[in-house]
Symmetry: C2
Subunit: 317 residues, 2 copies
């Protein structure tokens, strides 16, 4: 398979057209018509074999996830996604693998109305780099530095499920089809609804403690989180060791739920929102002026939370 | 060195501010204010160790080149660059290496007024992915599919010099500082000047024959190229084997000069332009209705041009 044939297969499965795409993939660069009067929102994320996934990953799931993690970043800003570019580095060009990857990427792109407008393909160690561009009404972006004491801290969906399936996979038990680890669902509709409603937001990619910590640090505030109200994923709720499951929910990454803060006066609007979206939105704590993160529970007296989050270079000292 | 420290070092050397950057690196995504009434131009290119460069490359040159090849794509569209994102995958986080890389990237970014607004860092096989976003007046983008029979074909600067230094390096002779292989100069000012003047354009990254071939194919035309007028790089002109040097100039990649087509009536404007830019702009052939590429010479009767360009996956069959 030539590079040309590889690109042809990608473009066959991934939508490339929108009315605002003046010139799509195939020239030196893409030409796009930005929506008038809005700000652009841009995110880049790379998935590398051996770090973010194993080389024998289902290519369809990899295609899905590579786009999903970027759409999740846009969701965490409250933005509406529009265009993507794809930098695909492959050790070999296997047609079935490329078709699977493109199908997974393409299905999620179609679901969110995203057009693939460019990128490149290179022979090398397996890695997928995606840049997504979207837009938002000026001044409405959900920043990390806007949390205010008194805000409720909320999370969408459930936590710890991706971490659970990662533990299972490492123990030799393959997760079921559609599992939260391989098939994260970016909360794009939620993010759009939160723009202008929430004060601060972030997506839970490194673990709740680490990611909420970014909001606290950027906003110069602290928080209390009520562990008894934490929404645990279904497989975690079935386990007897609740302390271990709380630890997973607090520190495992890859959930791609949104963590956001909302003024007390606006909490009533969340009820209508979670019904409209069919997505649980759980209040889990409060923003406080006092710095630091306090984990409170009436039941988990023995809980010890180890350092959360993932630092790609922390181990090199 | 932690991931945080690595990012801090990058941002120390690479400019991140422009008046149109509402929110730069450090949140889930960047927020940017697009220039009103213009189209966006977006390009992505990845450099992978062992493919595009050797792992022992000077990090300063790598930082320069990773941005340069993307700016070259924008130049080939006639666009004005504005913002970049950087996806850096590193086997280890060596502070001196990171500082060198950031200095090379940052100096070129500053020269072209480009702000780094986001990206990510990952531990893994050395690779650098860059996405550059710029803008252009609507309808003025220099596309590949607009060449017209009768157009002059022109190239900027000189050809084959990057290929020459690559050959030298492979023979164990290290190219001099500032050489065209490691330090390509993206022709951004030329691209801006050609927008609205040239009919079609491309940057010479895969070799003149391959890249001019893309213009011919996209435009549905053919061409004659006059080899005796080809501007050869200085080290090539000093070599006795002119046929071999012509072959290098026609097929070696990495020159990052612009190849563009101009109507006969506009050729007079090129003279003023090359004086203003201090950059030679050489007419090397004509676009013709008859398909195919004809290489003409009064001296190089024995010239044999082998298949040009580089296909990342061509050898896998």
């Amino acid at each position: 398979m030539t590079e040309f044939e590889l690109i042809r297969r990608l473009l066959e499965h991934i939508p490339g057209a929108r009315t605002d795409v003046v010139l799509g993939a195939g020239d030196d660069a893409a030409c796009l018509r930005p929506p008038p009067g809005r700000e652009l929102v841009v995110s880049t994320d790379t998935l590398v074999a051996g770090v973010h996934f194993t080389p024998d990953v289902d290519p369809r799931a990899l295609g899905h996830k590579a786009l999903a993690v970027n759409l999740s970043d846009l969701a965490a800003m409250g933005a509406e996604p529009a265009w993507a570019t794809l930098a695909l580095t492959l050790p070999e060009a296997d047609p079935a693998w490329v078709d699977g990857f493109a199908a997974g990427f393409g299905a999620l792109a179609a679901e969110h109305g995203v057009a693939l407008v460019g990128g490149d393909t290179t022979r090398g160690p397996l890695a997928v780099g995606v840049t997504v561009i979207g837009s938002i009404e000026p001044g409405r972006a959900l920043r990390r530095d806007r949390a205010v004491p008194g805000d409720w801290i909320c999370v969408s969906g459930a936590l710890g499920e991706a971490g659970w399936w990662l533990t299972e996979r490492r123990a030799g038990r393959e997760p079921p089809p559609g599992n939260a680890l391989d098939w994260p669902q970016p909360r794009v509709a939620l993010g759009r609804a939160l723009a202008g409603l929430a004060h601060a937001a972030i997506d839970v990619s490194d673990g709740l403690i680490a990611d909420l910590g970014h909001i606290l640090e950027a906003s110069g505030v602290g928080a209390s989180v009520y562990l008894d109200g934490l929404p645990l994923g279904a497989p975690l709720r079935a386990q007897p060791d609740r302390a271990a499951m709380l630890q997973l929910a607090l520190t495992a990454g890859d959930d791609y739920e949104l963590c956001f803060t909302v003024a007390e006066v606006d909490m009533a609007r969340l009820d209508a929102l979670q019904r409209r979206l069919g997505l649980p939105l759980s209040p889990i704590g409060r923003i406080e002026a006092k710095p630091g993160l306090r984990l409170l529970s009436e039941h988990a007296g023995a809980l010890r939370i180890e350092a959360g989050g993932y630092d790609h270079f922390g181990r090199s000292g």
